[in-house]
């Protein structure tokens, strides 16, 4: 038991460090150019926010259409903390997350009474209200003209080095987010949260404190979204309230649904795919969004449960099996032959 507890984080740490080193090396050598590196970082930020949305929508079953509102609170708080109060970036991000989670609790309260579409439209309203407030708090947020000159992660003249450092920040927080969400889901409160999604009344009658666990999910999710927003603020260096409109929130819902509601792996895959496909479609110029919309409809028609539905892919399990030799050539051939024999038998029966 103890060995397992030590073993899993080590594998995770090793895998994430290796991934980071590979990507950093690719950035230094120019395999990933500046443009794609920037996209990758942006995808990381989108995944953080989509994961937090997945925690609310995919695991707790509450549809939220105001994620951009959470994100903007985090973004503005972090930016203002850094610019006005000279707080180090890391603590500014944490403060951004904490302030956002206060908003999360505020939005969480109506969810105790509202259901389904009513909740969705309430969160939509909250997002819009936050946006209007940001525009009208001109002294603090720069108002409609936006907040400019947000400091960078690290002051350097070397573009590539900065690119790697920026990616490192986002990647680090992404790994933390994945760990927080997946551990929360596997823990006892996480099971309670999932039971609320499956049937609120039944879980209530089984003695689960529905109100408490809903609020827990909202608080954690808004904290993560706030950190994502803070990273976005430093990433882009410029904030404007019009960015965080309704369609921006829809992006995150699309990422979560495309990946599969209730699948962390799915969100990660579709977050990367979403960011890059949107950029790839720029070739089509004016037709870009038409094709994007059509793709959305077609994917939903033929793949209504998303890419991964509710399945997960665990790196730790995969690595363990690989170490134990499950993926050696011999084993794979064995497995294939077993499958083929089973298939032949099936045909004979027919």
């Amino acid at each position: 038991m103890n060995k397992k507890r030590l073993f899993n984080p080590i594998i995770l740490l090793a895998v994430s460090i290796i991934t980071f080193v590979i990507i950093a090396a690719m950035m230094f050598t120019g395999v990933i150019d500046e443009y794609n590196g920037q996209l990758l970082t942006l995808a990381g930020i989108y995944i953080i926010i989509s994961l937090s949305l997945n925690l609310i929508t995919g695991f707790t079953g509450q549809l939220v259409l105001g994620m951009a509102g959470f994100m903007s609170v985090g973004a503005y708080t972090t930016a203002i903390c850094i610019m006005r109060l000279n707080i180090p970036i890391f603590f500014a991000l944490i403060i951004g997350g904490l302030v956002t989670s206060i908003f999360g609790i505020m939005i969480g309260f109506p969810t105790l009474r509202l259901r389904g579409d009513y909740l969705a439209v309430t969160t939509l309203g909250f997002g819009e209200i936050i946006r209007v407030i940001m525009i009208n708090l001109g002294g603090l947020t720069g108002g409609a003209s936006g907040l400019k000159k947000i400091p960078v992660f690290y002051d350097t003249d070397d573009f590539i080095l900065y690119e790697v450092i920026r990616f490192g920040w986002v990647f680090g927080f992404l790994i933390l987010t994945i760990v927080v969400v997946s551990n929360l889901i596997k823990s006892s409160p996480g099971r309670a949260i999932i039971s609320i999604r499956e049937d609120e009344i039944a879980s209530n009658s089984m003695g689960i404190n529905v109100a408490y666990y809903k609020m827990l999910s909202f608080t954690v999710a808004s904290f993560l979204a706030g950190i994502g927003g803070g990273l976005y603020a430093i990433f882009s260096g410029y904030l404007n309230p019009t960015t965080f409109g309704f369609m921006y929130s829809v992006n995150f819902v699309v990422i979560v649904v495309l990946g599969g509601l209730g699948s962390i792996t799915g969100t990660i895959i579709s977050g990367i795919a979403f960011t890059f496909i949107q950029e790839c479609l720029r070739v089509f110029e004016d037709f870009r969004l038409v094709i994007f919309g059509l793709a959305l409809i077609i994917i939903m028609l033929f793949w209504p449960r998303g890419l991964m539905s509710m399945k997960e892919f665990s790196i730790v399990t995969f690595a363990k099996k690989a170490i134990a030799g499950e993926y050696s050539v011999k084993k794979i051939i064995e497995k294939c032959s077993v499958r083929i024999q089973a298939w032949k038998k099936k045909r004979e029966v027919k």
């Binding site: 549809l63 579409d117 009344i201 649904v257 038409v290 959305l296 939903m300 028609l301 209504p304 449960r305």
Partner: protein, 296 residues
């Protein structure tokens, strides 16, 4: 006091347009439990259809009637096509899937209109009656506002008649009450659903022409904001309830113009959404929504 009355009239005129759009949302929701996000874009298509008619034949009461007719037919057909191709295959999948599809449809219509050579991304001037205002006891009402009130009133009476006094209306009510039971009673649910989409689209088309007449500038994205507001109005009144949509639309329109007139035009959106949240927290199913208890 006069100014308040003036703003009330303006608010009611805006609110009745919202109400017309909200009716489409609420009827569709009542039957298939789907938030049809493309509804605002149907309004845009309606406005453009009206624009082409009025541009070709000039503005007169007769061409106005033709414009209404043409845009209603175009939108009804569009509504049925959208329903048959995009929503029907998803009737049994999770709600959120249908929601994403609806957003996809909305993106396609908005941006499709932007790339179509005869529509294009640039705003256009909508040809309409020359504005003539009459003053009644210090409150001025323009002819366009009279048109808005008249058409809205007529359409609502017609809708009331269709829903409550025709066979199709009875079938609509039956399907929205219990689709399975309605199917067992021999009601062709597919036809009823298509009819509902067409009816909603007809109302949106009329709302589009009216909206474009009141604010005479049209562009492919014009449907987004009224659509969102009308959706809020539908939820405010209790989504699925037809009188609720009317009440919600009027409240939202009046609240918006009063805020614009007396507080700040920037805060108008915040106030309307604030009202929504307040009412939903007090009464979770909207003003006239039915409070269905979930049974175990």
């Amino acid at each position: 006091m006069k100014e308040v009355a003036q703003q009330l009239i303006n608010g009611l005129s805006l609110g009745s347009v919202y109400a017309l759009i909200a009716l489409g949302y609420t009827m569709v929701y009542g039957i298939v439990k789907l938030i049809n996000f493309a509804h605002g874009d149907i309004l845009m298509v309606g406005a453009y259809s009206g624009y082409y008619v009025l541009n070709t034949f000039g503005v007169s009461p007769l061409t106005m009637v033709i414009a209404f007719g043409v845009s209603m037919v175009v939108c009804a057909v569009l509504g049925i096509i959208i329903e048959k191709t995009c929503y029907k295959p998803l009737r049994n999948s999770p709600k959120i899937t249908a929601l994403i599809t609806a957003i996809g449809v909305s993106i396609v219509i908005e941006n499709g209109a932007r790339v179509l050579p005869f529509m294009g991304p640039n705003p256009r001037q909508f040809p309409t009656f020359k504005s003539v205002s009459r003053v009644y006891g210090g409150v001025s009402i323009s002819n366009v506002q009279f048109l808005v009130f008249g058409v809205t009133f007529f359409l609502m009476v017609a809708l009331y008649y269709i829903v409550n006094h025709t066979k199709m209306g009875k079938a609509m009510r039956a399907v929205s009450y219990d689709m399975k039971a309605a199917l067992l009673m021999g009601i062709n649910a597919n036809r009823v659903i298509s009819f509902t989409f067409a009816l909603g689209a007809v109302l949106a088309a009329a709302a589009g022409v009216l909206f474009a007449s009141s604010y005479p500038s049209i562009d492919p994205l014009m449907g987004f904001m009224p659509g969102l507001k009308a959706f809020v109005a539908a939820v405010l009144g209790g989504i699925g309830s037809i009188p609720g949509a009317v009440v919600g639309g009027l409240i939202l329109g009046v609240a918006e113009t009063l805020t614009k007139g007396f507080i700040s035009s920037q805060l108008a959106d915040a106030v309307s959404f604030g009202i929504l949240i307040l009412i939903l927290v007090i009464k979770p199913t909207g003003i006239l929504g039915k409070n269905t208890r979930e049974k175990v």
